[in-house]
Subunit: 325 residues, 2 copies
């Protein structure tokens, strides 16, 4: 028998891992009674004022994100922090190969009583995963996790979603220079609060220093962030457990500066607004494109527009009229 | 008495400047009969297959855009091209101080029989100006203008709008390095097909070379464009009429490469699709936020969301239900 909502809520607020796991499963459910329960649970958890730090971690494949998070997470629990690790990876919904679903990964961290490692939530690829992750952060914080790490795979939309739910956005890179630096994705340089060049060990240190120089110069080409923080580029090696303390120091310094000048709180409020508008946006688009009249005409109109037979504006007008039929 | 639609259409297709000016005024009109006429005119003009080149030009204030466009435009008419100069500047709708509305600017070019200089269209700031500019391009091309320059002020949304209606996106910059380079705006490095460092003359040449180096290195940090083009950074001085021929050569080279590999045509089709989706997006949002139930509840819900009293998703749900009341 599933626990009552009250029992589940009490369990989450007491920091019980099993209850937290069940609460997240409730969030993921698509059944209406579950959804209603989940909404109530979220509202209760929201009312708990938690003093947490949300850190987004992204980087290209092969950069060593899992190892980094495992070692970084262990470092934080050793400091007495309670650490939750979440993920945004819609691809797992399709391929079933989740970045965190692989149970053999982050085993050390998962065993830690002060850590909670959750595989990426199942959900549709169209923003559903991000929404669940955003809600899961609230549950974890209510359960007493004071550092939440949100891992994401390096695919545009996911990064923006992660960026929009964390306080600090950390980008992992590999040692190398110029073209070797693997094209940095759109907006990445503007999103990064810090860049960590992982695998900076052994022979790679020379290359890492070159990358550090190039990335630092490139960062200077962008306007200063409004929050008064100047992004840093640091070297580290998760494998060798080197440089990770400096990364935590950087994040702490960021938190101190932005909490003092009010930007920490301001950013969280802006993010709440972002998710409200984003959710509305996604749903009104969904309603429009699911409209049966729109559905039956859009392909032919799109084709005519692409071929230049009708102006995009005239075609839009036709579809908008069809939608209100 | 205004000309008939037929007379106006004939005039535009013959390349008559007065007719073209009147046709654009018709586009800008908000009266329903005018709108219907304008739609028909656009459809007729679309059916004219024009071999044109659309060039977006942007840059920070003080970079010398007007002088650049005047000298560059004269150079093109001297090569036998017919050049139209349009602008996207929604701020002019509010401040009435249009970037091209100032009649004393680009006087030389405006007098040229092979040039057509149009002040920024009046329209609301919310995408209306961009739409009119997009439609004006079609009229100008039907009137035989084979190079269309779209000037834009350096404000995020306008640049994206301009970028989405041109074949080649040219970013003007000032000589200087690092912080002096005036923060390059979000996405600019990814959007640029070419960067021209204007005012590279006299004592500024040394600084210009530094800027060229920095920008070239920074460009290399981004993934290669799918169209096979590697953006270039060139020096020029519009004032001294130096380096502008090389900029035209670069644009011609771009056109040759992308026409050969099919990306020129592909990009135009994608842009048509973009404007269709963009127009629908703007209108369905407009309908939603103009809904009277939404209007009367959104402020209080937004406040509750920003203060963390209700989750953004629950608030969105409430508003979405109100909209269908």
């Amino acid at each position: 028998m599933p626990p009552t909502l009250q029992a589940l809520t009490d369990g989450v607020l007491k920091g019980d891992k099993t209850a937290l796991g069940r609460a997240i499963t409730l969030l993921e459910s698509k059944k209406k009674p579950d959804t209603q329960k989940a909404d109530k649970l979220i509202e209760t958890c929201l009312s708990q004022k938690a003093d947490s730090l949300r850190i987004g971690i992204t980087g290209p494949p092969g950069v060593g994100k899992s190892t980094f998070i495992e070692v970084f997470g262990k470092q934080l629990t050793a400091l007495g922090k309670k650490v939750a690790v979440l993920a945004i990876d819609p691809s797992s919904a399709i391929s079933k190969g989740s970045i965190l679903g692989d149970k053999t990964r982050m085993q050390e961290l998962a065993k830690d009583t002060n850590a909670f490692v959750r595989p990426t939530p199942s959900g549709d690829a169209s923003g559903g995963v991000a929404k669940k992750t955003r809600e899961t952060i609230i549950l974890c914080e209510a359960a007493g996790y004071d550092v939440v790490l949100v891992e994401t795979v390096g695919v545009g939309q996911n990064e923006i979603a992660a960026y929009s739910m964390v306080d600090f956005f950390l980008v992992l890179q590999l040692p190398g220079a110029g073209d070797e630096l693997q094209g940095i994705k759109r907006g990445m340089m503007e999103m990064a609060d810090g860049i960590a060049i992982n695998k900076s060990d052994g022979d790679a240190i020379k290359k890492a220093l070159v990358a550090q120089g190039e990335l630092t110069r490139a960062l200077h080409l962008f306007p200063h962030k409004e929050n008064g923080w100047i992004p840093k580029v640091l070297l580290c090696s998760a494998q060798e457990n080197e440089g990770l303390a400096a990364i935590w120091d950087m994040i702490m310094e960021f938190a101190t500066i932005t909490k003092t000048n009010g930007h920490f709180e301001f950013q969280r409020k802006s993010q709440n607004k972002y998710w409200l508008l984003q959710t509305i946006d996604a749903e009104i688009k969904n309603r429009f494109y699911q409209n049966k009249h729109v559905k039956s005409h859009i392909d032919s109109l799109l084709k005519a527009v692409m071929e230049g037979q009708i102006s995009p504006f005239a075609a839009a007008d036709k579809l908008l009229k069809l939608a209100t039929k």
